[in-house]
Amino acid sequence: MAAPVLTVDHLTMRFGGLTAIADLSFEARRGDITALIGPNGAGKTTVFNCITGFYKPTEGMLTLTHEDGSEHLLERLPNHQVNRTARVARTFQNIRLFPGMTVLENLLVAQHKTLMRASGYTVLGLLGFKGFRDAQAAAVEKAKGWLTRIDLLARADEPAGSLPYGAQRRLEIARAMCTDPVLLCLDEPAAGLNPRESLELNALLRHIRDHEGTSVLLIEHDMSVVMEISDHIVVLDYGKKIADGTPEEIRTNPSVIAAYLGVEDEEVEAVEAEVGLSLPHEGHPA
């Protein structure tokens, strides 16, 4: 079994009196797509916000391990350092692109760290040094590579805000990937996609896992995506982990079905039979 890339240890997050996450522990293994699922308000996005430094957890430890064995304690890093040094990238449930900048510019902003260094923290770049121009050309090449993969090369010079929804989702993933992450956290990437786009997303995520050396942590309501591509699933309900296992184990786990359908529902058994295909859709909150 591969070593964990992310270890979440006794994570607790409270907002005043509300406990959004209660003593959550799980692992995401290197080279896996790990899915985090659960009903609305279960605390999935809050887990992401803790991992990526947007919230400071009330308690607990988040450890990210690089391939060379170096460990980063995410809860101690300042917000932007989570991406910069620990190399965790993320997307947002409600897309956060730079709408007034072009598609290409969006991908170049993501390579800020590399370009900034190449431009000698602006000084050399201002003087027009060749080293910077080369680095910029390389960054554009890398962006083009991703644009080809997500099928947006032809629209590279258009403002990101003018893209259709599905393309914006893909662009946000490509932008996160341009930061060379070790772990990519995707918050509901399939929300609002049509079935064809969903399939393309599956292929994109598999490519990221298999060929980019990036492990993926995925929040998703769309069970066709989750069951299809995840290697491991963690189920949250009211901030607690209620199950943890392979898609097969989760599919048949009674407490998962109960959490998703509500125990008092009389039709549980009838639906249970269908669950193999798809769990009911929970909708897409903004």
């Binding site: 993320r90 730079f98 290409l104 800020h112 602006t122 010079d157 258009e158 403002p159």
Partner: protein, 468 residues
């Protein structure tokens, strides 16, 4: 207010006309309410030492009638426009044409800046030709210097507000820091202008950083208010720290600018004698003109270059979405600080130019109104657009100046009429008009910093304006 859509072109439906009349009457009523305490009675000194109230109901009636008429006309015009719009789809509704023709704003901004620079370069010559001799061109060259100072300030503030999206209401503080840096360094230590110029930029930049550290955690309105307060604090310090700054009396007899060490004087060491010219006090003015032009162009050049570097892109990304920036590993505090410090540095350099040109400075010159005017230049110009800012500076500075020349209006409004007094009124009107017709400024398109294909402007509709 929901405007009823007029389906018929010619005659208006009864109900619509009634609603419009009612609305106009309401406006007139509001005007009446406002007039009662303000205009209806005037106090005149009576025969003794007492005051008498002079009723002016006629005037009130006229004002109310005007309000009624204007409102009626406005509603009718809007009605007709809406009817026309209903027939043709609004441009905002249509999806953006991918390979569409560049619109007027885009065409203008492409050549506009070059045109502006060309005109600015040749202004002293043009003015001399137009007025006959160099001496009488002085008015125009002085006006040019004033305009270019504001162009430079506008371009400096544009880095902070237009690119990084940080609303700074206290920009004049850095202008003051620069001006006082030069004034004090030269009068107490005898440092020359050319040494002080970069120092002034440095000091102002440092002040920008110093202010930035605590303040840039704030966003939007909070940032605006704190910068506003900072501007006032600097002014109050200048007024009250009498030992150093000379207090409200300011600093006078600041050394004049030299031609890289050669003074503009009539003796044989002077500029004219050294270059074998006849002495003319205009040499200094023309030199100052080109100096501020060069300083402004440097500001512009640096800004344009920075926009294409990672730091400039990070500024714009910050304006678009700060949270996304942080998720991409961009240190938002440091990035904001650089924008703030750089804008401040250019403000400081402009300030030291101001000091050397005036030869005298006092806290009077650095009031909030200055900040407001510079900010208005940036906003009117179209946030982030260099050419738009230049045009706005010309309009904002030369416009009020032109008012002075409208003495002919005295014939219409009577002898007591001074058009200059209406400066702020016109300023306000212009602002309101801009907000209605071009809320994103004169030039509201954004040029991408890097492209694969042809460089095409991005419509302002997509571009964010920053939240602080």
């Amino acid at each position: 207010m929901a405007r009823p859509a007029a389906s018929t072109q010619g005659a208006l439906p009864e109900s619509v006309m009634g609603a419009i009349l009612r609305d106009a009457a309401l406006c007139a009523l509001v005007a009446l309410g406002l007039c009662l305490p303000l205009i209806a009675y005037r106090m005149d000194p009576g025969p003794g030492s007492d005051l008498v109230l002079v009723p002016r109901w006629g005037l009130v009636a006229i004002l109310c009638a005007i309000t009624f008429g204007v409102r009626l006309g406005q509603r009718l015009l809007l009605l007709r426009r809406d009817a026309r719009r209903a027939l043709t789809p609004a441009p905002a509704q249509a999806t953006e044409a991918v390979g569409g023709e560049p619109d007027a704003g885009q065409k203008v901004s492409k050549i506009g800046l070059k045109l502006f620079v060309a005109v600015a370069l040749s202004l002293p010559v043009l003015a001399t030709l137009a007025t006959g001799d160099l001496g009488s061109a002085r008015y125009w060259i002085d006006l040019g210097i004033l305009i270019l100072t504001y162009v430079m300030l506008g371009w400096g503030l544009n880095i902070v507000v237009g690119l990084a999206g940080l609303l700074d209401l206290g920009y004049v503080a850095f202008y003051a820091v620069g001006a006082y840096s030069y004034a004090l360094l030269s009068t107490t230590f005898g440092l020359s202008f050319w040494v002080c110029l970069p120092l002034a930029g440095l000091f102002a930049g440092l002040w920008g950083m110093l202010l930035g550290f605590p303040v840039l955690r704030l966003r939007g309105d909070y940032l605006a208010i704190v910068t506003l307060a900072f501007g006032e604090i600097i002014r109050l310090v200048l007024i009250n720290w009498t030992d150093v700054t000379g207090g409200a009396a300011g600093v006078s007899s600041i050394p004049r600018a030299t031609f890289f060490g050669i003074p503009f004087t009539a003796d044989e060491d002077g500029f004219a004698a050294r270059f074998g010219l006849e002495f003319d006090s205009m040499h200094r003015v023309v030199f100052l003109y080109y100096l501020i032009l060069v300083l402004a162009l440097i500001t512009n050049l640096v800004t344009l270059r920075l926009r294409r570097l990672p730091i400039g892109r990070a500024w714009e990304a910050l304006r678009e979405d700060e949270i996304a920036c942080r998720s991409l590993g961009i240190d938002t505090t440091a990035t904001k600080l650089t924008a703030f410090a750089l804008g401040a540095a250019f403000g400081g350099i402009a300030g030291s130019f101001f000091a050397v040109r005036q030869g005298f400075i006092s806290p009077e010159s650095f009031t909030f109104l200055e900040s407001a005017i510079i900010l208005a230049i940036v906003v009117l110009g179209g946030m982030g657009s260099q050419f738009g800012v230049a045009i706005a500076a010309v309009a904002m500075v030369a416009g009020p100046e032109m008012l002075r020349n409208l003495g002919g209006l005295k014939a219409v409004f009577g002898e007591g009429f001074d058009p200059n007094e209406y400066r702020l009124l016109l300023f306000g009107l212009a602002m309101v008009a801009m907000m209605v017709w071009r809320p994103r400024g004169l030039i509201s398109v954004r040029m991408p910093s890097v492209t694969l294909g042809e460089r095409k402007a991005i419509s302002g509709a997509h571009v964010s304006e920053g939240h602080g």
